[in-house]
């Protein structure tokens, strides 16, 4: 709204016709426990996503998506550019921490029954985000064009190709041909820096939309109590910025002392190279090891797919209104068993792949 008597804007926000929006943001209130010492995983996830976007954007200035040259460009950015190792490290550690925090965020939401009505779609959109992150990691793995990234991608592609009826089609779409070469690298790059981030932002917006509409979950015994609120701006934003700066500094320091790894350049003719699975897929990797031969599909598709489907469908399967864990014994027991199997298989995978069997 223009306040000047001469109908001339007095401030920049008026000039930009943003004064109404700014006034609305200032009037926004959020729960006081939206970001506190004991509740910060959601905000931390947003911090990590922003760091991933920023560091990724910087790295893209120096990246060339062509086999061989891709490796050289990453090597140059990592070791020849001032603070290149820090930026790459922040990107690398951010997605690793993101996976951990995302798991904790999901676990908390599960334990407090945050998926229950009226927040079913908050849960579903969160799970969708969780599925998109690995897709981003997978497409990013190939980009440095090093041995690990290249051969890990080969393994993934071979698994996709084994899927009846649609496997070959998916591989051709992703790879752009029968070999992982410049077309595949370009497609992975475009997916990684354009389509997946766009989709991720879209899902995050959806997630926030449902959060705003359905409210932030509280502990099961505090749902109906009167919660204190704080202003979104500046109180909440300041807290978030403090978290952002702290995380940036910590990850920057870690990256400085322990730079992100870059393996040997990819050699597509070196079929003796067998990549080690990343820590976050040890469970799935071990499933494939357990279900061999004609049972492969069980370990590679049916069980993981079923689990993801269960996760998405959870709010529609557990429809009771009681959020207390004690009242959800069956669900808690089932989740506990899955968690134990998950951890057990991951430990088995670690022992098999990392415990002294390799030079």
């Amino acid at each position: 709204m223009i306040k000047s008597k001469r109908n001339q804007p007095d401030t920049l926000s008026e000039m930009l016709a943003l004064d109404d929006i700014i006034a609305r943001i200032k009037s926004l209130r959020v729960p006081g426990d939206a970001l506190t010492w004991h509740r910060f995983s959601g905000s931390l996830l947003l911090v990590l996503l922003v760091l991933l976007f920023l560091s990724g954007a910087f790295m893209s200035f120096y990246y060339s998506p062509a086999p061989g040259i891709a490796y050289d460009s990453v090597d140059y950015a990592l070791y020849s550019l001032p603070f290149g190792d820090v930026i790459k490290g922040v990107h690398y550690y951010s997605w690793n921490v993101l996976l951990v925090v995302m798991g904790l965020h999901l676990a908390r939401a599960f334990v407090v029954g945050a998926y229950k009505s009226p927040r079913q779609l908050v849960w579903v959109s969160g799970v969708m985000i969780m599925l998109l992150i690995p897709a981003s990691i997978i497409t990013g793995d190939l980009l440095p064009w090093d041995q690990d990234g290249f051969w890990t991608t080969q393994v993934r592609i071979s698994i996709i190709a084994s899927v009846p009826f649609v496997g070959d089609l998916i591989v051709r779409l992703v790879q752009g041909g029968s070999l992982t070469g410049i077309v595949a690298l370009t497609r992975f790059y475009v997916l990684h820096i354009l389509f997946l981030p766009l989709f991720l932002v879209f899902l995050v917006v959806i997630h926030f939309h449902f959060l705003r509409q359905r409210g932030l979950s509280a502990s099961w015994d505090k749902e109906h109590s009167n919660r204190q609120t704080i202003s979104f701006f500046p109180q909440f934003v300041n807290r978030w910025l403090l978290l952002f700066l702290t995380v940036t500094a910590v990850l920057g320091l870690i990256s400085w002392y322990w730079p992100a790894p870059l393996g040997d350049p990819a050699d597509p003719t070196d079929s003796t190279f067998v990549p080690r699975p990343e820590w976050w897929v040890l469970f799935l990797n071990q499933l494939v090891t357990v279900f061999k031969g004609s049972l492969t599909l069980i370990g590679s598709i049916i069980i993981p797919g079923g689990l993801v489907a269960l996760l998405i469908a959870l709010p529609f399967l557990d429809t009771s209104s009681d959020r207390r864990p004690a009242s959800r014994k069956k669900v808690m027991l089932f989740a506990g068993i899955i968690a134990i199997i998950w951890v057990g298989l991951s430990i088995m995978g670690y022992v098999q792949h990392f415990n002294g069997t390799h030079s």
């Binding site: 690995p134 350049p265 070196d270 598709i301 993981p304 797919g305 079923g306």
Partner: protein, 333 residues
Amino acid sequence: MRIRTIMSFIVGVASISSMLLLNADEAAKAHTFVVSASYVRAAPAGLDDPLWKTAQAFQLLVEGREPVVGANGTVTTRALYTDKHLYFLLKWKDPTHSITKQSWRFDGQNWHHLEGNEDRIALLFEITRINKFATRGCAITCHSPADVSRKDWKFATKSDDEKGDLWHWKAARSAPYGYADDAWLTVAGNPTGSYRETGRRKDVGAGGDIKNQTQDKSRPLYMQDPAIEPSVPGFLLMEEAVKITDYSVFKTGDTIPYRLPVKPSGSRFDVKATSRYADGGWMVMFSRKLDTGHEDDVVFNLKKRYSFALAVFDNSGSEHSKATEPMTLIFSP
């Protein structure tokens, strides 16, 4: 019906998503052997400095290539680094102490070359990435191109963009001056009029050796300058040599070195070396600045990993060698 359709869609999306997460492997992985350099504040003083005990000893397997297939061995390798320098201590068995490299011998009437040749060791690093060197090592640079017969192999890279850094210690030609001949590797050519095409190029500066022979190659051209005490007994350094004017002074059984080391300088003299032959084997210590400031040298960044390969030559004047698989050098904190 609608719920079933939605569930089918969810299962489909979930299946494809979970498939993408998979990263299966069962077999043991052929990762390259990693040699780790340990940090020390002060430089090791020599071959016997106790500092070397702080460095891990790596047993590097060297395998014989034609015509010495099966002649395998190991090179015990330790690596240290300071804020400015990188050091290697290399130790390997070699039954023949070969340092004469075809010296001349006078039989009373004519001059003949003795049969002994020279022991050597060479390290090859990448200055810029050499395609497949990290996974194939010497097979890419020494056995190149792989699809032609052995006699046509050239020690070279395939393109101008690929450059290697060669540290070549030679018992008869570089050891007397305490260095490893520093050269670099590029595409094959013959810019110096050598007897064959090669990708090996000398670093900027002086060094190497000259052949001590007359124009008709029938006898030596130089001898030790009588006015100068040999600074390295048993060797004839070019700077201490004079042309032979009277061959009648030699008597039966006299020997004169055939290869005369030239005083090294410049970038060619970047890799210093100390060596000793004892107990049927060689012990050689290399030292080089992490960054020499020369374009023809690899720059060592402590955060980076470096592919390299190593070859030992026993009494050899040709490419007959025992070489390692490609390895990786890292700098441990």
